[in-house]
Symmetry: C2
Subunit: 340 residues, 2 copies
């Protein structure tokens, strides 16, 4: 049943909005018994004229009746409403979650896919699909898109498809190598994305754990310099979010730094920065590429992460307040709501 709605959403994206609108009109009328147009309009926060259009339609369908005293629901309207209740709950449970999170952190968009990426591979794929859709939607033309590594990002890359809109876009890794397996490195992902969409890419071949001296040398190199400048002036960032300790271990951070991370209360990691519960940066991986301050100029920051275990980490990053779009799953979203 959920499947059918998800399929329809692809072919008729505004289906859900209209369905919900009409449903809530009927619901309000049912609750009010008899109610007038203006009263109803203000309680549903619609203009009178729009409501009137919908009411005319619903009347046409025989779902409500009007007389000179006002509108009331018809028998078939009541039955329809009853039959719809489970559907609405299914379809909009996530929408409500999305809206709550969006408001709580003042973001521009939140997308929640059903399921839990920790336990279901299918959900993980869905997360990738939704992430890819979110990216496609935000691309305008000839954008520079900085991406990070990670398995979630790899899923997004998988789900991108050739698109004339992205033909002029540049994909670049947000940061230099961060010591992960090759197929989840930012470099790899940037190139896959470019190939899949028909876009172009530049890579950043720099080793991890750069000393200050080595850094100064590298940054002099015109090739590298050019890419770094592109990265720092990107219009869109797409990044995963990780649990701080998990990421530290995966990147083989030395034990001293690990201890310091623990002492500082690091919870989350995103594009090489570590965040504590309040969203403060407590540590920074030393490598070239996107810096936190560059995000100020970035127009769209898209964070993608799912799974119940990541809920808290996501909250940390959101608290930092740079995210514009979040793509997550149901399990993580519920965790997030526990922490606001």
């Amino acid at each position: 049943m959920r499947e059918i709605l998800d399929i329809q959403k692809q072919l008729l994206p505004d289906l859900m909005d209209i369905m919900k609108k009409r449903y809530s009109i009927l619901q309000h009328i049912l609750a009010s018994g008899v109610v007038g147009r203006r009263t109803l309009a203000s309680s549903l926060d619609m203009t009178e004229r729009v409501l009137r259009g919908e009411v005319d339609f619903l009347k046409e369908q025989g779902l409500l009746e009007t007389d000179v005293t006002g509108m009331k629901i018809s028998e078939s309207g009541r039955q329809l409403l009853e039959a719809m209740e489970p559907i609405i709950k299914l379809a909009f449970g996530l929408t409500d979650l999305e809206e709550s999170i969006r408001q709580a952190f003042g973001m521009s968009q939140v997308i929640v896919v059903p399921g839990d990426s920790d336990t279901s591979d299918f959900t993980k794929k869905e997360l990738g699909r939704a992430g890819a859709a979110a990216l496609r939607k935000n691309v305008t033309k000839d954008d520079i898109i900085a991406v990070t590594g990670g398995s979630t990002m790899a899923q997004i890359a998988n789900n991108l498809a050739i698109s004339s809109r992205m033909k002029g876009s540049w994909f670049v890794p947000a940061r230099g190598g961060l010591g992960e397996s090759v197929d989840m490195q930012a470099n790899t992902i940037a190139s896959i994305m470019a190939k899949k969409t028909g876009g172009k890419y530049r890579l950043l071949h720099v080793p991890d754990h750069l000393g200050e001296e080595a850094y100064q040398t590298l940054i002099q190199d015109p090739q590298i310099r050019e890419v770094v400048e592109a990265v720092r002036s990107c219009r869109i960032v797409v990044h995963g979010i990780g649990d701080a300790m998990v990421m530290a271990r995966r990147r083989k951070v030395d034990s001293e730094t690990t201890r310091s991370l623990q002492a500082e209360g690091a919870l989350a990691e995103a594009f090489g920065y570590y965040f504590d519960r309040e969203g403060n940066v407590v540590h920074k991986m030393p490598t070239v590429g996107l810096r936190l301050e560059d995000l100020q100029l970035t127009e769209v920051v898209i964070g993608v992460a799912g799974g119940k275990s990541k809920g808290e980490a996501i909250v940390s990053v959101l608290r930092h307040g740079q995210e514009d779009v979040l793509v997550t799953d149901e399990a993580a979203a519920l965790e997030i709501m526990k922490h606001v």
Copy 2:
């Protein structure tokens, strides 16, 4: 799953059309491999511009791709199409049936509800609901609506609701008493319909089996004459369709007439007339009211009947060629298609 589609059909009828349109565009593109806009437009019988709008949308959704050689379906488009097939079949299987029947008999509208009225009371109710909706849709203002008797008509009456559009309408029985049980008589049904919709009604109190002399006397009566004239000048007729022999028995037709009906090959009965396989009238019940020739002037003739057992009878009446709208069920519709 069917339920959710039925709900959507009520709440978003035009979105379902759009869904079908987009589905068939994708389907055609899949079948064609690579195809150009103009070619596709003519094969789908759309104007180029509106197809273009849809294509732009589908491209936006990543369901198809265009390059300079034409349009082709994308991977996610192919998957979507596959996933949608059962949904489309479920949602529009009946639509296709409707269209076939409509074309075969040159009618203006055919409505098919799922199920078999012979075996399911629920389907019978649905038939009534659909019949009521069809009537409501065809009423304009201050119409005279002639109705017959029968259990199906009673269901329609049940499903009518108060409606400002029908407030000025007159409900009249199409013909005089035809010896059925009271609650299924045309008189009763006309009055119920009027009460339910807020319309007005006139009744025709004449006995069955009228001799010529009695007929002449009755028709002189100004009251009766007035009603008869109203009936004959009606704008809308709603009638059931019955199996000839079943109706003859129910109406206690004498054995001689029954034999003659059988000899003539009577298959169907509608508003007092009996029809053979080819739609010829083979017998006429002698009573006052609507005559076959009056139907010429009637703008909308709505026939309502369902159940597998009635399929053949419906074909007979349709062959006669006076019907504009048919409301039936899936089982009867399938039978009908066997006979064309």
